[in-house]
Amino acid sequence: MKKLFNITCKHTTYLISKKEDRKIRLIDRLKLQMHLGICSACKLFENQSWFIKLNAKQSHEHITASLSSEAKEKIEIALKNAQ
Protein backbone atom coordinates (compact mmCIF):
# COMPACT_ATOMS: atom_id res chain seq x y z
CA MET A 1 0.00 0.00 0.00
CA LYS A 2 2.78 2.37 0.98
CA LYS A 3 4.59 1.57 -2.25
CA LEU A 4 1.46 2.28 -4.26
CA PHE A 5 1.31 5.84 -2.99
CA ASN A 6 5.01 6.44 -2.86
CA ILE A 7 6.19 8.94 -5.45
CA THR A 8 9.43 10.83 -5.89
CA CYS A 9 9.92 14.62 -5.65
CA LYS A 10 10.78 14.73 -9.35
CA HIS A 11 7.53 13.04 -10.27
CA THR A 12 5.58 15.17 -7.79
CA THR A 13 6.80 18.43 -9.33
CA TYR A 14 5.89 17.04 -12.76
CA LEU A 15 2.38 16.19 -11.58
CA ILE A 16 1.91 19.69 -10.12
CA SER A 17 1.88 21.13 -13.67
CA LYS A 18 -0.53 18.45 -14.81
CA LYS A 19 -2.83 19.25 -11.92
CA GLU A 20 -2.81 22.95 -12.83
CA ASP A 21 -4.04 21.94 -16.25
CA ARG A 22 -6.59 19.53 -14.80
CA LYS A 23 -4.92 16.75 -16.78
CA ILE A 24 -4.29 14.47 -13.85
CA ARG A 25 -5.66 10.99 -13.20
CA LEU A 26 -7.39 10.28 -9.90
CA ILE A 27 -4.68 7.90 -8.74
CA ASP A 28 -2.01 10.52 -9.46
CA ARG A 29 -4.02 13.17 -7.66
CA LEU A 30 -4.10 10.97 -4.57
CA LYS A 31 -0.38 10.26 -4.79
CA LEU A 32 0.29 13.97 -5.15
CA GLN A 33 -1.81 14.87 -2.12
CA MET A 34 -0.10 12.23 0.00
CA HIS A 35 3.36 13.42 -1.02
CA LEU A 36 2.58 17.12 -0.56
CA GLY A 37 1.25 16.36 2.91
CA ILE A 38 4.63 15.13 4.05
CA CYS A 39 7.18 16.89 1.82
CA SER A 40 7.69 20.56 2.64
CA ALA A 41 10.11 21.12 -0.28
CA CYS A 42 7.53 19.97 -2.86
CA LYS A 43 4.83 21.99 -1.11
CA LEU A 44 7.07 25.06 -1.47
CA PHE A 45 7.60 24.20 -5.12
CA GLU A 46 3.83 24.13 -5.62
CA ASN A 47 3.36 27.52 -3.90
CA GLN A 48 6.23 29.10 -5.79
CA SER A 49 4.99 27.70 -9.12
CA TRP A 50 1.66 29.31 -8.42
CA PHE A 51 3.40 32.58 -7.58
CA ILE A 52 5.37 32.52 -10.86
CA LYS A 53 2.24 31.76 -12.84
CA LEU A 54 0.33 34.58 -11.14
CA ASN A 55 2.98 37.18 -11.77
CA ALA A 56 4.45 36.20 -15.16
CA LYS A 57 1.30 37.29 -16.93
CA GLN A 58 1.63 40.90 -15.78
CA SER A 59 5.28 41.23 -16.87
CA HIS A 60 4.69 43.65 -19.71
CA GLU A 61 2.92 46.10 -17.42
CA HIS A 62 5.90 46.35 -15.12
CA ILE A 63 8.96 46.38 -17.33
CA THR A 64 10.72 49.51 -18.47
CA ALA A 65 11.11 49.20 -22.22
CA SER A 66 10.23 51.46 -25.09
CA LEU A 67 10.81 51.64 -28.80
CA SER A 68 13.62 53.95 -29.88
CA SER A 69 12.61 57.05 -31.84
CA GLU A 70 14.43 55.55 -34.87
CA ALA A 71 12.31 52.42 -34.68
CA LYS A 72 9.13 54.51 -34.43
CA GLU A 73 10.18 56.58 -37.40
CA LYS A 74 10.91 53.39 -39.36
CA ILE A 75 7.38 52.16 -38.66
CA GLU A 76 5.83 55.47 -39.71
CA ILE A 77 7.77 55.40 -42.99
CA ALA A 78 6.73 51.78 -43.59
CA LEU A 79 3.09 52.71 -43.01
CA LYS A 80 3.35 55.68 -45.32
CA ASN A 81 4.89 53.52 -48.05
CA ALA A 82 2.22 50.89 -47.62
CA GLN A 83 -0.51 53.26 -48.73
Partner: protein, 187 residues
Protein backbone atom coordinates in the same frame (compact mmCIF):
# COMPACT_ATOMS: atom_id res chain seq x y z
CA UNK B 1 -6.98 62.30 -47.46
CA UNK B 2 -3.28 61.70 -47.48
CA UNK B 3 -2.80 64.15 -44.61
CA UNK B 4 -5.50 62.37 -42.63
CA UNK B 5 -3.80 58.99 -43.20
CA UNK B 6 -0.47 60.46 -42.28
CA UNK B 7 -1.95 61.82 -39.08
CA UNK B 8 -3.49 58.47 -38.23
CA UNK B 9 -0.20 56.66 -38.80
CA UNK B 10 1.58 59.05 -36.46
CA UNK B 11 -1.21 58.77 -33.88
CA UNK B 12 -1.11 54.98 -33.99
CA UNK B 13 2.63 54.87 -33.50
CA UNK B 14 2.54 57.48 -30.73
CA UNK B 15 -0.38 55.91 -28.90
CA UNK B 16 0.32 52.20 -29.15
CA UNK B 17 3.87 51.37 -30.21
CA UNK B 18 5.47 51.39 -26.75
CA UNK B 19 2.68 49.32 -25.20
CA UNK B 20 2.80 46.78 -28.06
CA UNK B 21 6.57 46.67 -27.81
CA UNK B 22 6.50 45.89 -24.06
CA UNK B 23 3.84 43.25 -24.66
CA UNK B 24 6.00 41.65 -27.35
CA UNK B 25 9.46 41.92 -25.84
CA UNK B 26 8.55 39.93 -22.71
CA UNK B 27 7.19 37.24 -25.00
CA UNK B 28 10.04 36.91 -27.45
CA UNK B 29 12.94 38.05 -25.21
CA UNK B 30 14.74 39.72 -28.11
CA UNK B 31 14.55 43.46 -28.78
CA UNK B 32 15.21 43.20 -32.55
CA UNK B 33 12.56 40.52 -33.07
CA UNK B 34 10.12 42.49 -30.89
CA UNK B 35 10.66 45.61 -33.05
CA UNK B 36 10.02 43.60 -36.22
CA UNK B 37 6.83 42.08 -34.79
CA UNK B 38 5.51 45.50 -33.73
CA UNK B 39 6.21 46.88 -37.20
CA UNK B 40 4.49 43.90 -38.86
CA UNK B 41 1.52 44.37 -36.51
CA UNK B 42 1.09 47.99 -37.57
CA UNK B 43 1.51 47.11 -41.24
CA UNK B 44 -1.10 44.34 -41.12
CA UNK B 45 -3.49 46.61 -39.26
CA UNK B 46 -2.83 49.42 -41.70
CA UNK B 47 -3.52 47.26 -44.74
CA UNK B 48 -6.71 45.97 -43.17
CA UNK B 49 -7.92 49.12 -41.52
CA UNK B 50 -10.95 49.33 -43.79
CA UNK B 51 -12.10 45.99 -42.38
CA UNK B 52 -11.87 47.24 -38.81
CA UNK B 53 -15.47 47.36 -37.72
CA UNK B 54 -14.99 49.06 -34.42
CA UNK B 55 -16.50 46.14 -32.50
CA UNK B 56 -13.40 45.99 -30.33
CA UNK B 57 -11.40 49.02 -29.37
CA UNK B 58 -8.60 49.99 -31.74
CA UNK B 59 -6.13 49.05 -29.03
CA UNK B 60 -7.58 45.54 -28.54
CA UNK B 61 -7.67 45.03 -32.28
CA UNK B 62 -3.94 45.84 -32.51
CA UNK B 63 -3.19 43.52 -29.58
CA UNK B 64 -5.05 40.66 -31.28
CA UNK B 65 -3.00 41.13 -34.44
CA UNK B 66 0.19 41.36 -32.39
CA UNK B 67 -0.66 38.19 -30.46
CA UNK B 68 -1.14 36.29 -33.74
CA UNK B 69 2.24 37.54 -35.00
CA UNK B 70 3.87 36.32 -31.80
CA UNK B 71 2.29 32.87 -32.21
CA UNK B 72 3.49 32.80 -35.84
CA UNK B 73 6.96 33.58 -34.58
CA UNK B 74 6.79 30.64 -32.16
CA UNK B 75 5.45 28.38 -34.90
CA UNK B 76 8.47 29.16 -37.09
CA UNK B 77 10.83 28.86 -34.16
CA UNK B 78 9.31 25.51 -33.13
CA UNK B 79 9.83 24.03 -36.56
CA UNK B 80 13.45 25.18 -36.68
CA UNK B 81 14.43 23.46 -33.43
CA UNK B 82 14.99 19.79 -34.00
CA UNK B 83 16.50 18.52 -30.78
CA UNK B 84 15.34 19.78 -27.44
CA UNK B 85 14.30 16.95 -25.18
CA UNK B 86 17.56 16.27 -23.41
CA UNK B 87 19.45 19.49 -23.78
CA UNK B 88 19.60 20.68 -20.23
CA UNK B 89 20.67 19.59 -16.82
CA UNK B 90 17.34 19.84 -14.98
CA UNK B 91 17.80 16.33 -13.72
CA UNK B 92 20.54 17.74 -11.55
CA UNK B 93 17.87 19.16 -9.28
CA UNK B 94 17.22 15.66 -8.01
CA UNK B 95 19.41 12.89 -6.63
CA UNK B 96 19.54 9.29 -7.80
CA UNK B 97 16.41 8.49 -5.81
CA UNK B 98 14.70 11.45 -7.57
CA UNK B 99 14.38 13.50 -4.41
CA UNK B 100 15.61 17.09 -4.14
CA UNK B 101 19.33 17.53 -3.72
CA UNK B 102 20.29 19.60 -0.67
CA UNK B 103 21.38 22.55 -2.84
CA UNK B 104 18.33 22.62 -5.08
CA UNK B 105 15.62 21.91 -2.55
CA UNK B 106 13.20 24.90 -2.56
CA UNK B 107 13.71 27.37 0.30
CA UNK B 108 11.02 29.45 1.96
CA UNK B 109 10.87 32.89 0.23
CA UNK B 110 9.13 34.61 3.12
CA UNK B 111 6.44 36.19 0.95
CA UNK B 112 2.75 35.74 0.36
CA UNK B 113 2.65 33.43 -2.67
CA UNK B 114 -0.88 34.49 -3.54
CA UNK B 115 0.07 38.11 -3.95
CA UNK B 116 0.96 40.09 -7.06
CA UNK B 117 4.33 41.78 -7.04
CA UNK B 118 4.52 45.47 -7.89
CA UNK B 119 8.26 45.98 -7.67
CA UNK B 120 9.95 46.47 -11.05
CA UNK B 121 13.06 44.68 -9.79
CA UNK B 122 11.17 41.38 -9.70
CA UNK B 123 10.10 41.64 -13.34
CA UNK B 124 13.60 42.58 -14.51
CA UNK B 125 14.96 39.45 -12.81
CA UNK B 126 12.07 37.32 -14.08
CA UNK B 127 12.94 38.45 -17.63
CA UNK B 128 16.60 37.56 -17.14
CA UNK B 129 15.71 34.16 -15.70
CA UNK B 130 13.29 33.49 -18.55
CA UNK B 131 16.02 34.43 -21.02
CA UNK B 132 18.31 31.80 -19.51
CA UNK B 133 15.87 28.95 -20.18
CA UNK B 134 16.52 26.64 -23.07
CA UNK B 135 14.59 27.88 -26.15
CA UNK B 136 11.76 25.38 -26.26
CA UNK B 137 11.22 25.67 -22.51
CA UNK B 138 10.92 29.40 -22.95
CA UNK B 139 8.44 28.94 -25.79
CA UNK B 140 6.11 26.67 -23.84
CA UNK B 141 6.36 28.85 -20.75
CA UNK B 142 5.43 32.02 -22.62
CA UNK B 143 2.60 30.40 -24.54
CA UNK B 144 1.18 28.79 -21.41
CA UNK B 145 1.62 31.46 -18.77
CA UNK B 146 1.74 34.70 -20.74
CA UNK B 147 -0.48 33.92 -23.70
CA UNK B 148 -2.78 31.64 -21.74
CA UNK B 149 -3.09 29.15 -24.61
CA UNK B 150 -4.49 25.66 -24.14
CA UNK B 151 -1.93 22.87 -23.99
CA UNK B 152 -3.30 21.27 -27.19
CA UNK B 153 -2.90 24.56 -29.06
CA UNK B 154 0.68 24.97 -27.84
CA UNK B 155 1.57 21.45 -29.02
CA UNK B 156 0.05 22.20 -32.42
CA UNK B 157 1.89 25.49 -32.82
CA UNK B 158 5.25 24.07 -31.76
CA UNK B 159 4.78 20.70 -33.45
CA UNK B 160 5.42 18.72 -30.27
CA UNK B 161 3.63 15.86 -28.52
CA UNK B 162 1.82 16.38 -25.23
CA UNK B 163 4.43 14.33 -23.38
CA UNK B 164 7.16 16.60 -24.82
CA UNK B 165 5.10 19.52 -23.58
CA UNK B 166 4.84 18.23 -19.99
CA UNK B 167 8.55 17.60 -19.80
CA UNK B 168 9.34 21.07 -21.19
CA UNK B 169 6.97 22.98 -18.90
CA UNK B 170 8.21 20.99 -15.92
CA UNK B 171 11.82 21.85 -16.69
CA UNK B 172 10.96 25.48 -17.41
CA UNK B 173 9.37 25.83 -14.00
CA UNK B 174 12.24 24.09 -12.20
CA UNK B 175 14.74 26.37 -13.93
CA UNK B 176 12.80 29.60 -13.36
CA UNK B 177 12.10 28.84 -9.73
CA UNK B 178 15.74 28.16 -8.95
CA UNK B 179 16.91 31.25 -10.84
CA UNK B 180 14.42 33.48 -8.98
CA UNK B 181 15.46 32.02 -5.66
CA UNK B 182 19.13 32.69 -6.38
CA UNK B 183 18.73 36.16 -7.84
CA UNK B 184 15.64 37.75 -6.37
CA UNK B 185 14.88 36.29 -3.01
CA UNK B 186 17.12 37.37 -0.17
CA UNK B 187 17.20 34.46 2.14
Amino acid sequence: METKNKLQATDWVNNYSDALYKYTVVRVSDTGIAEDIVQETFLSAWRNKDNFKGEASEKNWLYTICKNKIIDYYRKKGSSIISYANEDASDNFFDDAEHWTKNDSPKEWGINYQQQVEKKEFYTILEKCKGKLQQMQQSVFVMKYLEDLETEEICKVLGITSSNYWVLIHRAKLGLRTCLEKNWVNI
